[in-house]
Subunit: 756 residues, 2 copies
């Protein structure tokens, strides 16, 4: 029990008392300490209160005397015992807390100050009770300790009118006083400005502030922090630097990267002008609009034609993965946060609304109903996975803009950041987006993505389905030209920043015809009977494609593919180098290796192709050779591998799949139960598993660096966009991370904080 | 150049000369040394011969004088220069070697002894030339050195008749003299017996021996080792112990476990009585006979009815895996050693004949032709994967018998073996086979194999396809009883030896209906519409079942399955304990864990079920709880896991799949190319990859033992039957290995050698 804002003089708290200041108590003490008129307030801890009650049963009075003396600190220079208010002061808001109990008469006798039958002591007792009890029978020592430190405030009643306002605008972050959500701003005297500035500087966040105003005199009553929009938080942080309240580095350290990420999704241009036709759960943030499709194959087909589509299904399953990746957004009738749709959507960064109760889908008839409305394939919808709303038609979307505040913050952040941030991109468009966000190169260009258009797909299928090397070589010849153009454009866009091209990786069957129509088309283009094609397709089908004929295994079994890719990359680099001043910096990366012998096999052939290309490393093209580390064995043998490469880059998705033995696509079937039953604390595909996958990476980095001290080390899995994972990677001393374009700001900020 | 069998006296070779004795030279020296009459012989190395030629060009004579002096060692006490023979003496036989050149006159002048135009020197020159040159342009220092040490023998021509015979019978191993393959045994004087005993003792293997017989006098000419049948080698080894030529431990050390394995396959009872109707490549050894099936589903169905079948296809692919496992043998028209069929057959231990050129299969019409003969489903065939022959009808097979010699050898081997050998078995029949081979317990009983019969499959499908917990519980109730009987029988068969029951492991979908017929049956038994069942099946289909909803994930998501299995195991143990004197020793093993939290989750529930069962550990049932370690993460976290278990057992198959990121079922598509191109030295699914998977195991053992010094450690993957892998495991200090019944002798012998 102690005064945090005495009626006279200063509080002069001891170090242990300062440590007890949680919630409102903290701000009352600090505002008073800074000299702003503050309503007199004392604080009592639960420990002290319980001791007082024990003493009272013993009919002792030593503590009670101390308590009464404390209450006297509320008496101002007039000497009148004030009317009192009792308030809770929780460190986090909780709807069960007792509302302020006002107008309590000051106790007239010392015993009244501790007797729970009397108004003051009763209010204090109720306040402590409202903090609630931990739900479990077993209470840890830590919880016991926290409970003992809970505080109740006894405050003199202020005269005049109480007013509540925000220290900053909740939507824009502009300096307040500002109105509370949905309320008008009360008329406030000018002297409030000083309080607002004081609180903003002390708290460094949006605060709701309660004052009493008595004939123009403002007295501070209490304050608590409030949640503002991520954009407002960002603007406020930058504004505090402009006001010299914070050094730039403080702004960098105090903006939460996870909140920053929320600014970086597409959103509705004018949400206030439209009403949703249905609401579900927003399970993966961002808005998306497009043509309705009811099955994954249609999504793939539309995507290949450059159309946006919304995949509408009752629920998704592993067979829908390719369709989900191809769709712009996903809408499901069933499921929640940990449904298959939710998990996959968040990982792949697709907006997703799940569990829309009045949606029913008949996939066979290709029709769905939302309430009374009927939709067919080809109709348009817009969804917002941030709040779960569904809108009629294709509404205009605002693409995330990297505004002035974010740019300034990120520029400051560069001062303390030592790890480079690159992006995963294979189109000029996404490369440019990433550059505008400050990407310092491309860390992963998935070369197979260049085949996602109908004509190229036909050529690719011809190559995959060739029965012998000759056939294959002919099919390949047609594939080099357009790739050369793609690479040249990509290199030019990056203006001398490094571009990492990953050799062909996914299981070939992902590119094979699936529907009857596609099979007929492909058979015709190959001059094969449909039945013969079906047999061939059956023969190359795989049981576990994730662990199948992919990555480096393709480069070794079909050296023609390697030849084609190297030719295209080198020709593209030459073309780009002829149109720009900066040298082109190309990195060729071999995926999915498990032995050093695979690396040396490909390296030898790649080197031969490079040697025969007429380009040399001293040319205006810089060429580096490296490998992706995404299998446990590659981690263990990183020493052998490192001697043969210029760089390694960790593919943390596949490394998580193999280290855990979990197929990400199939995991939703049990991951929800795992999290519900507490078997996993978090989804290892969202935040890197430091104790398992993380140790694999550590082992590889240690062995790799030991064998090759000049080895460059990167991370290119989706974890590179997750703040918690990024902090872990920073601790490992990697040279760069590579994430999706919209995650570049998140990575820059997180890594700046981690290096500071 | 030196005498290895001088006409007079002993050879008295220096240490460096002794080292040069390769091939025949070695036996000539040792027989002569032992005092048996031997034809006088001298040896000259290529190094010496080339120096002689260089000296000759320089017109020097120092070395030549030495050479001529050497030739004089062939002159017997009569002082007559003998007629000569020149022979090669390679350490391994090679068809290009020069046949013995006989009847060469002794050189009359010193120059004749080195002049390649004269008969002796010409024969020596030709002999050296016939050794051939290494094929590559680049010759290693080691190869150069080996070449310099090549030897040619110059021998006095023996008078009398030359005779060739074996030291032991090639088929039975009985002591010789014995006839060469397909020849009659020549008439030999009794004194040959001493030579046979001498050579057998010196060489310790079957030898072909050349002697000259002159009026009853036997003189030794040369000898070389020959390959006998594995059974003959074994009998000979045991016989040498009986003759006190070897100590028992020498017999144990000198029998090759890989050759021993060849005795342990089923074979034709009377191959001499039948002629094959076709020949292919024997790509996986052993004989099999049964009903012809043309597709994997029929194989699965027949197996469920307890029938033997031969899967006959043009070639196999990943979709055929289950059918291959269900078939008794596999016959393919295409492919070779590294075809999909060959690889999978060897791993699963199925006899397989591949690449039968005059076989053609029409799977749709369910008919095949071998030459002119036509076969339909239901006809019978017999194949022998040891030599690639195919026979008409189901011929009687001889199951491998563990005869007297093998038992004696294995009993000797136990003296030096410190690692226990258990077996992988879930039926009483295979348990008894393994016991007869000396298995010391069951290290892996795959509980799901108890569902491989039509009625049980129906019940199991009902459980898997239940939509909620109630449905599932009802379906499960019917599954406990017959399992109890199975476990009770298995525990009784093992008479107190430990039995390790692995909880339900494989992806559920492996048990789901596939054909239209099965789907209709299942729908009827579930009271579901066929269309609804198809939808449900689609929803639970997995992309990568190997990394999907299996192992411990099933026990956690469907606790009813765990409950059912524990109940059945405990009831079975109780029943067995009531009929036998020995306490029942049960180990329950949780498969496919990646975190300690999974282990503790299952352990808690299993312990509760045990506590409620009325059985206690002090009862006549010993109960242990452990986990399979088959994922990289489990290896890294073995310390956390070890604190919660009594034992761990490595599943090296799955650990190889995840460490390499290779699906064993899909690997044949690239593994052949990998081995052909030298990327992999050996198939990691046959011999454990010491540098990757092996390090994973080492890490786990170190961390596991550190956390729990009483931890029992086993190996239960198929590698536990491979000699090279077993030697590696022995070095890690595991407590036991567990292999298929027919591999138990191989493991006992290999581990005895490794521990010696």
């Amino acid at each position: 029990m102690f005064a945090i804002a005495p009626a006279l003089g200063k509080a002069n708290l001891s170090a242990s008392q300062l440590k007890l200041l949680a919630g409102k108590a903290r701000w009352i003490f600090r505002v008073c300490e800074a000299g702003f008129p503050t309503v007199p307030t004392i604080a009592i801890t639960r420990a002290a209160w319980e001791e007082l009650q024990v003493e009272r049963l013993r009919r002792d009075t030593r503590l009670r005397n101390h308590w009464v003396a404390c209450l006297f600190k509320l008496v101002d220079k007039d000497g009148k015992p004030p009317v009192l208010a009792v308030r809770t002061s929780a460190s986090s808001h909780n709807s069960g807390l007792m509302p302020a109990r006002l107008g309590i008469p000051a106790p007239s006798m010392p015993e009244d100050a501790v007797d729970p039958a009397r108004p003051l002591a009763r209010a204090i007792k109720h306040a402590f009770e409202s903090y609630g009890f931990p739900g479990t029978a077993w209470v840890s020592a830590r919880q016991e300790d926290d409970r003992a430190r809970q505080i109740v405030l006894v405050q003199a009643m202020a005269e005049g009118e109480e007013q509540l306002f925000l220290t900053r605008n909740a939507a824009t972050g502009a300096m307040g006083p500002a109105p509370l959500d949905g309320k008008a701003l009360p008329r406030l005297p000018e002297s409030v400005d000083a309080l607002v500035a004081l609180l903003d500087a002390k708290a460094g966040r949006h605060m709701a502030c309660l004052v009493s105003i008595d004939r123009g005199d403002v007295r501070f009553l209490s304050a608590r922090s409030v949640l503002a929009s991520p954009g407002a938080e960002l603007e406020a942080a930058v504004d505090r630097v402009d006001r010299k309240v914070w050094a730039p580095q403080s702004a960098v350290n105090r903006v939460d990267p996870a909140r920053l990420a929320l600014i970086l999704h597409p959103r509705l241009k004018s949400p206030e002008e439209v009403a949703p036709i249905a609401m579900g759960l927003g399970v993966s943030p961002g808005a998306a609009s497009g043509i309705i499709v009811f099955n994954p194959d249609d999504a793939v087909r539309l995507r290949a034609r450059g159309k946006h589509c919304i995949l509408v299904v009752n629920e998704t399953g592993p067979a829908d993965i390719e369709g989900m990746k191809a769709a712009t957004g996903i809408l499901t009738a069933r499921g929640g946060m940990s449904s298959h749709a939710g998990v996959i959507a968040r990982i792949t960064g697709k907006p997703c609304v799940a569990g829309v109760r009045n949606l029913s889908v008949d996939a066979l008839e290709m029709v769905c109903r939302i309430g009374e409305r009927e939709f067919r394939a080809g109709d348009r919808l817009t969804i917002d996975g941030t709040d779960g709303s569904v809108y009629l038609g294709a509404l205009p979307l605002a693409q995330p803009q990297i505004g002035g505040a974010i740019l300034r913050l990120l520029n400051w952040s560069d001062a303390s950041r030592s790890i480079a941030v690159r992006t995963n991109a294979e189109t000029v468009e996404s490369a440019q987006t990433a550059l505008s966000f400050g990407a310092e190169g491309i860390g992963l260009a998935r070369s197979e993505h260049m085949f996602f258009s109908p004509e190229r797909m036909v050529a690719l299928r011809r190559m995959i389905l060739s029965e012998d090397e000759d056939d294959r070589s002919r099919a390949i010849a047609g594939l080099v030209d357009f790739q050369t153009g793609d690479y040249s454009a990509l290199f030019s866009a990056m203006r001398g920043q490094p571009v990492n091209v990953r050799l062909f990786d996914p299981p070939l069957h992902e590119f094979l015809p699936r529907t009857d129509e596609e099979i007929e088309e492909t058979a015709a283009s190959l001059g094969l009977a449909v039945r013969a094609l079906r047999l061939r397709l059956e023969r190359i089908a795989e049981i576990n494609p994730m662990l199948g004929h992919r990555g480096v295994r393709l480069a070794i079994t079909y050296p023609e593919i390697l030849q084609m890719q190297m030719q295209a990359v080198l020709a593209g680099a030459r073309a780009a180098s002829e149109t720009q001043a900066e040298p082109v910096s190309v990195e060729v990366m071999v995926p999915f290796v498990s032995t050093a012998s695979e690396v040396s096999f490909v390296r030898e052939r790649a080197t031969t192709i490079l040697d025969n290309s007429g380009l040399t490393r001293s040319d205006r093209i810089r060429f580096a050779f490296g490998t992706m580390i995404e299998l446990p064995r590659a981690c263990l043998r990183a020493g052998d591998i490192a001697g043969q490469v210029d760089f390694i880059s960790f593919g943390t998705n596949d490394l998580t799949q193999t280290t855990f033995g979990i197929s990400r696509d199939d995991a939703p079937a049990f991951l929800a139960a795992y999290q519900r039953k507490g078997v996993y604390e978090r989804d290892p595909f969202v935040t890197i598993d430091a104790k398992g996958v993380g140790e694999m990476i550590e082992i590889a980095i240690r062995r790799g660096r030991q064998a090759n001290p000049r080895l460059k080390i990167g991370i290119c899995g989706e974890h590179a966009g997750d703040p918690a994972s990024l902090r872990f990677f920073a601790g490992l001393g990697v040279d760069y991370v590579s994430c999706s374009p919209y995650r570049v700001p998140v990575a820059r900020l997180t890594l700046a904080q981690a290096s500071a």
